[in-house]
C-alpha cells in the first residue's frame, strides 16, 4: 500500500512529468489557455495514460517478451497508444463535441505526447508490475492534469495582466511555467521512486 502511495506522490509532485521531467510540454502549453479546456484535457490524458500504460504492459509482458521481440517495443507501444487515443477521440467527440472542438488538434496529438510513450517505456525500464504500471501511469496523468489545471488558472489571470508587449502570449506562459517548475524543486527529496 505504502509503495503505491509513494509512486503516486512521486509521479504527481516530486517527479512531475511536466514540471520536473519536462515531458508533455506541447499540450501543457497548447491547452492551458482556458480552465475548462484544461480540465477536459486532464481527463482525456488521464484516461489515455492509464489505459496506455496498462495495455502496453500487457503487450510487453505477454507478447513481446515471450516472442523475444523487445526491440519492437517502441513501435508496438506507439501503435497501442495511437489506438487508445483514436478510441478516446471518438468517445469525446460523441459525448462532448464542444470539448472535442476546444481540444482541437491536441487530442489526436496525445499520440505523440512524449509523456505517454515515456510512461510506457519508463514502466518497462523500472520493471514495474501490472498494478505498479497502472498506478504509475495514473499518477503521471494526475500530475499532468494537476499542473495543467493550475497553470490554466494562472494563465487566465495573467491574460489580464499588464505584461510588456514582447512577452505577451507564449513567452510569459513559458516563463511562468519555468517559475512553477522552480517551485516544484521544493519537493526534491520528498520521495524517491
Amino acid at each position: 500500500m505504502n509503495e503505491y502511495f509513494l509512486i503516486l506522490i512521486s509521479t504527481i509532485l516530486v517527479n512531475n512529468f511536466v514540471l520536473v521531467k519536462f515531458l508533455g510540454l506541447c499540450p501543457f502549453m497548447g491547452v492551458s489557455k482556458k480552465m475548462d479546456t484544461a480540465i477536459g484535457m486532464g481527463f482525456a490524458t488521464t484516461f489515455v495514460l492509464t489505459l496506455a500504460s496498462i495495455t502496453s504492459y500487457l503487450i510487453n509482458t505477454y507478447l513481446l517478451v515471450p516472442l523475444e521481440l523487445e526491440y519492437l517495443r517502441t513501435i508496438a507501444f506507439i501503435v497501442t497508444i495511437a489506438a487508445v487515443v483514436g478510441f478516446t477521440e471518438l468517445v469525446v467527440n460523441k459525448t462532448s463535441p464542444v470539448l472535442h472542438q476546444s481540444l482541437g488538434v491536441f487530442l489526436p496529438l496525445i499520440t505523440t505526447n512524449c509523456a505517454v510513450l515515456g510512461v510506457a517505456l519508463l514502466n518497462v525500464g523500472a520493471s514495474n508490475s501490472f498494478l505498479q504500471s497502472a498506478v504509475y501511469g495514473f499518477g503521471a496523468a494526475v500530475g499532468f492534469s494537476f499542473v495543467l489545471i493550475l497553470f490554466a488558472g494562472i494563465r487566465e489571470r495573467i491574460e489580464s495582466a499588464d505584461v510588456p508587449v514582447i512577452f505577451q502570449g507564449v513567452p510569459i506562459a513559458l516563463i511562468t511555467a519555468g517559475l512553477m517548475s522552480m517551485a516544484f524543486m521544493g519537493f526534491v527529496g520528498l520521495a524517491n521512486v
Partner: protein, 314 residues
C-alpha cells in the same frame, strides 16, 4: 469599522516599519552586516526597476515611490544569510524584480511572491552560500570583508539550526541527542511576531493567513511528533526556528500573490503551514518557506475561484 484610509504607499511603508524589531534581533545576534545586505538589495531593486520601466517607456517615479520594490528587496535581504557574498543578494534581487514582478507588468500583476522567487532561485543555484549563517556575532568591518570578499574570513560560518538538525538526523542521531535550542532564532522569530501583531492591529493584514499558517504548521508538526518523537522535532521547534514568523506575517500575507477570499486565505495559509513542515522534514531544502509559499501561489487562482463568498441573494 471606521478605518483611516491608508493608501498603497503608506501600507508598504507600514510593513517596512513593522520589520524593524525582527531585523533588530538579527543585528543583535549576527552583527550589522544585515544592514549592508538591505542597502545593497534596495539599491539593486530600485535600479533594476527603473531600468526595466525605462525600457518599457513607463513612468518610473510612481512605480518606485510605491515602496513595493524596496519591500521585496528588504524581505529577500533579511532572508538570506547576512554574510552571503554581495553578488548573491544582487542576483537574487534582480531575479525577483525582473522575473518575479516586472515581467508580469509590475506591482499587482505578479502571480508569485517576488522575494520568495528570488530566494528559491538563489537556494537552487547557490546552496553553499545560501546556507552559511554567521556562527557568532560579527563586527561591521568583518561583515564588509566577508560580503565583498576583501579578506578570507574563515571560521565565522555555521549552518542554521534547521540544517544542523536535518544533517544530524540523516546521520542517524536521535532527536534527544541534538541541541535544539537556538536563542538567536527564537528572538528573531519573536521580533517578527511582534511586528506582525502590529500589522494585524493596524488592519494592514488580515488575520486569516497568519493564523491558519501557524495552525497548519503546528498541526502538521504535532502529528509527526505524536507519531515518533524520536524522529521528528516538536511544534515548538518549528515555530521558533527558521523564517516561520517572517513567513506567517510578512511573506505569506503579500496580498498580490495570496488568495483574496476570506475562506481562500484560510486554505492558502493552512497549506503553506503544512508544506513548510513537510518540506523541512522530508524535503531536500530545510529552509522550506520559499517553496511552500511559491507552491501555494500556483494554486491561488483555483482557490480564489472555488472559495468565492456567497453573493447576496444567491
Amino acid at each position: 469599522m471606521e478605518t483611516k484610509r491608508l493608501d498603497t504607499n503608506q501600507i508598504m511603508r507600514q510593513v517596512i516599519y513593522a520589520l524593524v524589531l525582527g531585523v533588530g534581533a538579527q543585528i543583535y545576534f549576527f552583527g550589522s552586516s544585515v544592514i549592508v545586505q538591505i542597502i545593497l538589495a534596495s539599491i539593486t531593486a530600485i535600479i533594476a526597476e527603473a531600468v526595466f520601466l525605462q525600457i518599457r517607456g513607463v513612468k518610473i517615479k510612481p512605480a518606485i515611490m510605491d515602496g513595493s520594490a524596496i519591500l521585496t528587496a528588504i524581505l529577500l535581504a533579511i532572508s538570506i544569510p547576512s554574510i552571503a557574498p554581495w553578488w548573491v543578494v544582487v542576483l537574487g534581487v534582480l531575479f525577483a524584480i525582473i522575473f518575479g514582478k516586472q515581467i508580469f507588468g509590475g506591482l499587482g500583476n505578479n502571480p508569485f511572491n517576488p522575494a520568495m522567487l528570488g530566494y528559491a532561485f538563489l537556494l537552487i543555484s547557490y546552496p553553499v552560500q545560501m546556507t552559511q549563517w554567521p556562527g557568532e556575532f560579527i563586527s561591521f568591518s568583518q561583515g564588509i570583508d566577508v560580503i565583498f570578499g576583501l579578506n578570507n574570513v574563515d571560521g565565522l560560518t555555521g549552518a542554521t539550526r534547521l540544517d544542523d538538525v536535518k544533517t544530524q538526523l540523516m546521520l542517524g542521531t536521535q532527536i534527544r541527542d541534538i541541541n535544539l535550542e537556538s536563542v538567536s532564532q527564537l528572538w528573531i522569530n519573536v521580533g517578527f511576531l511582534l511586528g506582525g501583531i502590529y500589522l494585524l492591529l493596524r488592519r494592514i493584514i488580515f488575520w486569516q493567513i497568519p493564523f491558519s499558517l501557524l495552525l497548519g504548521l503546528i498541526l502538521m508538526s504535532a502529528a509527526l511528533f505524536f507519531i515518533d518523537p524520536s524522529q521528528f522535532t516538536s511544534p515548538y521547534f518549528h515555530l521558533a526556528n527558521g523564517a516561520t514568523m517572517l513567513a506567517a506575517f510578512f511573506i505569506a500575507t503579500d496580498p498580490v500573490s495570496a488568495s483574496t477570499t476570506p475562506r481562500g486565505r484560510v486554505i492558502y495559509g493552512f497549506f503553506i503551514g503544512t508544506l513548510i513542515v513537510i518540506i523541512r522534514v522530508f524535503g531536500g531544502y530545510p529552509d522550506a518557506v520559499a517553496f511552500a509559499v511559491l507552491l501555494m501561489n500556483i494554486t491561488v487562482p483555483l482557490i480564489d475561484f472555488y472559495t468565492q463568498p456567497k453573493v447576496f441573494g444567491k
